[in-house]
């Protein structure tokens, strides 16, 4: 009996999920437009389409006076799919996430205190997602840094641009390191006090993940600096060659004094 109910649930979940995913494809242009300009042109969609998109939790209206926009989760998904660095940096606002975690922990504790275990369970679930997001955010940014590093910044053409991209990456890296510093584990320990679930989530697991990120960031930083030095050396070679050639062309009769070269 229970099995059949489960199957029913799964199949209806499947149907709804598939229908809603299809909506993303059907309205991809309008949605992408909305992602880029920050709001959705309601006139470009029919009433029924609007209703469907809102019901599917793809679009929402933060409040009555504001225009319709993409749900933050969808924006984030798009940002990660197109590696939109600008947006990701905005999202790297760790302080905000930490505050959300704080609030969520309070809500969880309150629910537990009241003995409302279903709500508590749900809050814990949300909290787990938040913590996961916090760590995932660093992971994604670090992946993108490694990727740029490993391709030698091959996506830009000239050495000058590579140098600029490298410097940009180093800035981003410093911001990420600053972000990691914001996470104070003493506070986390306090927050998790007396609760083994919270302790595992906020302290042991998060600490493990973040120290991994920290190590990874330092490694990327080391490589970025070495690569920048290499770029600069290449630049200096080219400059030396070009400037010496122009000097010799301008002074065709030039000949250095007759001394033994440096040995």
């Amino acid at each position: 009996m229970a099995d059949a109910a489960d199957r029913n649930l799964t199949s209806s979940l499947f149907t709804i999920g598939a229908e809603r995913l299809a909506l993303l494809g059907k309205y991809h242009k309008v949605l992408m437009q909305g992602y880029l300009q920050g709001f959705v042109e309601e006139t470009e969609l029919s009433d029924s389409a609007l209703k469907k998109l809102i019901a599917a939790r793809i679009l929402w209206r933060p409040d009555e006076t504001q225009s319709l926009t993409l749900r933050p989760q969808l924006s984030e998904l798009i940002a990660s799919m197109v590696s939109d660095e600008n947006r990701r940096q905005v999202n790297a606002d760790v302080a905000q996430k930490l505050e959300q975690i704080h609030n969520r922990v309070q809500a969880y504790k309150e629910a537990q205190f009241k003995g409302d275990y279903t709500v508590a369970e749900m809050q814990l679930q949300r909290l787990t997602e938040l913590v996961h997001d916090l760590s995932g955010q660093f992971e994604e940014a670090i992946d993108s840094l490694w990727n740029r590093l490993n391709t030698d910044f091959g996506f830009v053409g000239s050495l000058n641009e590579k140098i600029r991209e490298n410097e940009r990456a180093q800035q981003q890296l410093r911001r990420l390191l600053d972000g990691l510093q914001l996470i104070d584990f003493n506070q986390m320990i306090e927050l998790a006090e007396g609760n083994s679930h919270l302790r595992k989530l906020l302290v042991s697991r998060l600490q493990h993940q973040l120290s991994g990120h920290h190590g990874s960031l330092l490694e990327v930083q080391k490589r970025l600096i070495a690569l920048l030095a290499k770029f600069r050396q290449q630049q200096s070679r080219s400059l030396l060659i070009n400037n010496m050639v122009s000097f010799l062309r301008q002074h065709p009769a030039y000949s250095p004094a007759d001394y033994p070269p440096s040995q």
């Binding site: 053409g157 590579k162 290449q234 630049q235 400059l239 400037n243 062309r249 007759d258 070269p261």
Partner: protein, 206 residues
């Protein structure tokens, strides 16, 4: 010392030994004890091992600057100075022709055919290549582009700037002697106070 016989002969003949031109020899020379042994052997010949700052290329220098040594060095120096402009221009040409974003450095591979193909379609590159080939350092008499390029590459190989791993195949590897040449340019610039800037940050300010 017998095991290093061929290496010593190369060095005494004036060769530059780097990881590309002679990987085994270079490996031996990277070892401090071997260098000491070679220096010990070279002392009666008034020679010693020298290298550039990066230690990417080794060559022989004189132990003491006797009048004969000075005469010998002057000749070599004059030869290198004479080759300076043509080799540098060639470096520029290669960089532009192949569309590289940096100058050639030791270990880079060059395919003669690719170079010819790219230069063929570009009138201004052809023109510059022709002028370069006619320079007395390369001294080409030919009108044909591929002959000119072949000659240029051969001369650079003779001078130790290029290595040809297979005699019958026209691909070349840049040797560490290029590093030596650039070091020498920096030396001349510093000694003679030439206005030849190589600091990228300074260049921006200018």
């Amino acid at each position: 010392m017998i095991q290093h016989g061929p290496l010593l002969e190369r060095l005494l003949a004036g060769d530059f030994v780097c990881a590309i031109s002679d990987p085994d020899g270079y490996r031996h020379l990277s070892d401090g004890e071997t260098r000491d042994a070679i220096n010990h052997y070279l002392r009666p010949l008034n020679r010693r091992l020298a290298s550039n700052d990066d230690k990417s290329v080794y060559f022989l220098a004189y132990q003491e600057l006797t009048p004969e040594a000075r005469e010998q060095i002057s000749q070599q120096f004059a030869l290198t100075v004479q080759s300076l402009l043509p080799v540098l221009e060639w470096l520029q040409l290669v960089q532009e022709t192949l569309g590289h974003d940096s100058a050639l450095s030791a270990g880079d591979t060059l395919k003669l055919q690719e170079f010819v193909l790219r230069a063929e379609d570009n009138q201004s590159l052809r023109q510059r290549l022709q002028t370069l080939a006619n320079d007395r350092f390369f001294n080409s008499q030919s009108e044909a582009l591929d002959q000119q390029v072949k000659l240029i590459f051969r001369r650079l190989k003779d001078h130790g700037y290029l290595q040809q791993p297979h005699g019958d195949r026209h691909y070349y590897v840049v040797t560490g002697k290029i590093d030596y040449l650039l070091d020498m340019i920096r030396f001349i610039r510093d000694e003679e106070h030439l206005p030849v800037e190589d600091d990228p940050t300074q260049e921006v300010l200018l």
